[in-house]
């Protein structure tokens, strides 16, 4: 016996004239199939929902760039919700280097410290001995060291030499340019520059933040790390912190913040049902997520723990919430129709602004599904 037509079982009128007969057939239980219409689960997420999240994961990355100069480098943490100061940490650059370059010739090699009044001059005389630049640097470090107890007291704490370079360590708090270098002979050269780099400042600030994490930052900072000229601060889940910096000279500290909020869809009266076939997803950004000033980069993914395992973007890969639009990722790994026994949908929203700064935004997240027969 061959298959018979579905419509032959319902009523004449296969096209739009058949709807009445179709519905009557379903309603009267005359149709020998389980009626399983495609349904849409929906939940709206508003900007205010993100502000109310208590599990926001915030990570700030401070990148230090520019030529380091003497001065104070400060990182301040404030409560993003209340605006209250949490704490500040500061490091002061106070190392200098003097490099003996060129071809040393006989004559006077001077370093002039201008901060003391009157200025202090450290002089090394070359007359064949010391014979090389390296020897000259060693002697010059010794001559500066000789001045530490007297003319440079409170200014310089030590001076040492290695491979043509004299490193001068200033007393903490010395924040201005402290020396000039002159060379009185024709063929040798002597130059001075700051010994610290963006990497050393990053390391110093990271160490200070780590210390503060045991006290004033204990409730806010979970961890911090440094890599070359960056400091990465990971905050305690749920806190919202504003990091700011003040740096010396033209040195700049760019702060990139990443805020991640996780919203598990469903609640009393609107849980995503168990034992259904998920059959695609779509989201409607009816109001773009925005802040009072500037344009945020804010995105969402949709996924969760499927029967086959966790996949944060299994139904929708990263899609922007910064513009009103309808979002869909048909190529997402679990977008196609498939059975799920107990799927709690999860939306993860990532932003480069604090959620507390959002002033508008609304997205309706929809998951299509069909029920399956119960056996």
């Amino acid at each position: 016996m061959a298959n018979s037509s579905f419509y032959a079982m319902v009523a004449p009128g296969a096209k739009n004239g058949g709807n009445t007969a179709m519905m009557n057939a379903i309603d009267s239980a005359k149709l020998p199939f389980a009626f399983a219409p495609k349904l849409t689960y929906e939940q709206t997420i508003k900007w205010s929902d993100l502000i109310a999240l208590t599990t926001v994961a915030q990570v700030d990355v401070l990148t230090i760039t520019g030529t380091v100069v003497f001065g104070t480098y400060t990182v301040t943490f404030t409560n993003a919700v209340t605006g209250a100061l949490i704490t500040s940490v500061s490091t002061t650059v106070h190392e200098d280097t003097v490099t003996i370059g060129g071809t040393a010739s006989d004559g006077n090699y001077d370093t002039l410290f201008v901060t003391p009044v009157p200025p202090v001059r450290a002089r090394t005389v070359r007359s064949t001995t010391p014979a090389t630049n390296d020897n000259l640097a060693t002697q010059h470090a010794a001559d500066i060291t000789d001045l530490v107890p007297s003319g440079l007291a409170g200014i310089v704490t030590s001076a040492s030499a290695a491979t043509n370079v004299v490193t001068i360590v200033y007393a903490a708090g010395i924040a201005a340019q402290n020396l000039t270098c002159t060379e009185t002979t024709a063929t040798g050269t002597i130059t001075a520059s700051c010994a610290s780099t963006t990497t050393t400042i990053a390391a110093a600030l990271e160490a200070l933040i780590q210390t503060a994490r045991a006290t004033t930052l204990a409730a806010y900072v979970a961890n911090e790390t440094t890599s070359t000229n960056t400091v990465t601060v990971t905050y305690v889940a749920g806190v919202q912190v504003t990091m700011s910096v003040t740096f010396a000279g033209a040195v700049s500290g760019a702060i990139a913040t990443t805020n991640t909020g996780t919203v598990t869809l469903g609640g009393v009266g609107n849980y995503f049902p168990a034992n259904v076939k998920v059959d695609g997803a779509i989201a409607n950004v009816s109001t773009a997520f925005d802040v009072a000033s500037g344009t945020p980069t804010i995105t969402m993914v949709l996924g969760g723990t499927f029967d086959a395992g966790a996949d944060a973007d299994g139904l929708m890969t990263s899609s922007s919430l910064a513009t009103a639009a309808v979002l869909e990722t048909p190529s997402a790994a679990s977008f196609g129709k498939h059975f799920e026994s107990a799927f709690p949908p999860v939306v993860v929203i990532t932003s480069d602004v604090l959620f507390t700064t959002l002033v508008q935004g609304e997205v309706s997240v929809m998951i299509h599904y069909t029920p399956v027969p119960t056996f």
Binding site: M1, A2, N3, S4, S5, F6, Y7, A8, M9, A14, K15, N16, G17, G18, N19, T20, M22, M23, N24, I26, D27, L31, P32, F33, A34, F35, A36, P37, K38, E42, T44, N270, N275, K277, D307, A308, G336, K337, H338, F339, S341, S364, T370, V372, P373, F375
Partner: protein, 182 residues
Amino acid sequence: MANSTFPLRIGARNGSNPGVIRSLKGNRIPHSFVGGFDWVLKFDILLAGTLSAATSQEFDLHTYQLANPSALGSGCLFPANVKITGSTLYIVELFSGGAVSACTLEFGDAGDPNGLHTAVDVFTGSALGYRANTTAAAEYGKHFEAAFVPSVTIRTTTANVNTLTAGEFWIGLDFEPVPGVS
């Protein structure tokens, strides 16, 4: 002339459902209603007729149903001219019997026996209840079938299919009618 909007206002959740049903029943929507349906059948190995003295056997589910009119199921054959949109497998009793040491089930049709479900372990020790879909199976995606005759294939290891003494499952085939092909 631009497209006009759908003649009914659909709410986000269930508030608009009664109105949609009324409009469909009253034939006030000028398009064909294409609901999703499930053709379902309960298969019991003990009702499957003569079992094969080999380690695999394909069962034509139309033949099975005609031979077992009392078997729980849709009460009819899988309809012609529809779009298959997926499948469902629910294990009621795991397969076992004789010296069989493993048993798998495939779902498809004669042309592609595992086109809807590739080998699913249904032997004692595996899970009861709903099973995951084989979404990568060749025939799983939504597609038109003029006259699809569903079949299941049972494969055994160590001993033949005819030594099985237990095994029962529900099989479901999701479909949508195609109004213009009746």
